[in-house]
Amino acid sequence: MNDPIIKFDKVIKRFGDLTVLDELDFEVGRGEKVSIIGPSGSGKSTVLRILMTLEGIEGGVVTVNGEPLWHEEGPDGLRPASEAHLHKMRTQLGMVFQQFNLFPHMTVLRNITEAPVKVLGLSKAEAKGRAEELLELVGLADQAQKYPHQLSGGQQQRVGIARALAMRPNVLLFDEPTSALDPELVGEVLNVIGRLAEEHDLTMLLVTHEMRFAREISDRVCFFDQGRIREEGTPEELFTDPKEDRTREFLKAVLD
């Protein structure tokens, strides 16, 4: 892949004695929509959390847009990143959480405008304008003054998506965005994500158990197993003709 926006180069991640990512190599192209599937504990969330700078790494290099994420170029090679560097790098990334993680003490509108105002320095009016457009996009224009607890799970997750988009990230990370939802609310959220996927500029990295959806929207699907990519390919290749036994077993288990 020439000029990937995200690159994991022999990345090692450990929690104590447990090696969660074992020299992971992984790339995502600009504007690419990549789904990550795999069994529980295989390190899918960890990949996203490392990108969102919520978890550090023990070895290797992660680059975002050509710049090391967890390192800075020093006079004699790479050194661990400062908070200032992480702050700068984070402007390119946004994340949608499994449990939504909305701010419960703020209205929907303020959930979306708070960071643009405080972090990006937008005026209140600009931020409000931006938020209203995004609420329109996720179909919640009439819910701006409500508090998160007054919304259904599906509505909350759509606010979560709007909140992340308000920061205008280049890369949007989704960690099982519909896993916490009642089945009848999954569709409305997938709808919104599906529409975002039609945008060519936005790079999307989606961890999901929704195989049909992954197949529909992804350019590429990666099957994670034990901290490595066991198999990857276009949705066609991976879902209809998996090469590896582990992939086949996994797909059989989740599709039944």
Binding site: M52, R90, L93, G94, N101, K146, Q150, A164, M167
Partner: protein, 223 residues
């Protein structure tokens, strides 16, 4: 002296008690915030100061703290050539605030620590600085959790004000003692004292509930 003659001096004393409670609760809350947040700081010096303050004032009795501020501090000051004599009101308010501040610090620290990690992660993902995360995201969610224990501390503080009568501050207890010495009518006086403290505690509790409702109003928003 008749029963009705008791009322005026007791009301005067009650007013002093109210003021002492009000000032020391407000100042104590500020100390509680400062030292509770300071205890979570990664700055070693700030952390050490806050821990020392909290432990010192929780580990000694209010009476000793009061006597130390009022009687010992001026002597220590004059030994160093400084005038550290405090007016009784100031000594009383200081001792009460420092004491309630130390207990309140644990409430503040606990409530901040109890805000779910997910909230901090969401804030980090949106690129808030640590300071913004604390003041914008964490503390507003921690304050409702602090309110019930703060209510208890405020009532505790009201009851503790009785101790300042021992440095001859004219609070409710002090006035009651004066009348009792004069009339020897212990039963009536102490009964009135009981009722008046209870009444003030009741009012204070209602006020704290009101404050609690105010800071948790977002939780009660209905569709």
């Amino acid at each position: 002296m008749q029963l009705t003659d008791y009322i005026a001096p007791l009301m005067q004393g009650a007013w002093v008690t109210v003021q002492l409670t009000l000032y020391s609760t407000v100042l104590g809350a500020m100390l509680a915030f400062a030292s509770g947040i300071g205890k979570l700081s990664r700055n070693r010096a700030i952390n050490a100061i806050c821990v020392a303050y909290i432990e010192l004032f929780r580990g000694t009795s209010l009476l000793v703290q009061l006597f130390w501020l009022y009687f010992a501090l001026p002597l220590a000051g004059s030994a160093m050539g400084l005038d550290l004599r405090l007016p009784p009101v100031l000594a009383g308010v200081l001792a009460l605030s420092l004491n309630i501040g130390a207990y309140g610090a644990e409430v503040v620290r606990g409530a901040i620590a109890a805000v779910h990690q997910d909230q901090r992660e969401a804030a980090r993902a949106l690129n808030f600085t640590e300071r913004q995360t604390l003041w914008d995201i964490v503390i507003p969610q921690a304050i409702p959790e602090m309110m019930p224990p703060f209510g208890n501390l405020a009532v505790q503080n009201l009851k503790d004000t009785a101790l300042v009568s021992l440095i001859s501050l004219g609070d409710l207890t002090f006035r009651a003692e004066q009348i009792r010495n004069y009339t020897q009518d212990s039963t009536t006086i102490y009964s009135m004292l009981l009722v008046m403290y209870f009444g003030m505690a009741l009012v204070l509790t209602v006020m704290m509930r009101g404050l609690e409702r105010y800071v948790t109003r977002w939780r009660r928003a209905r569709s």
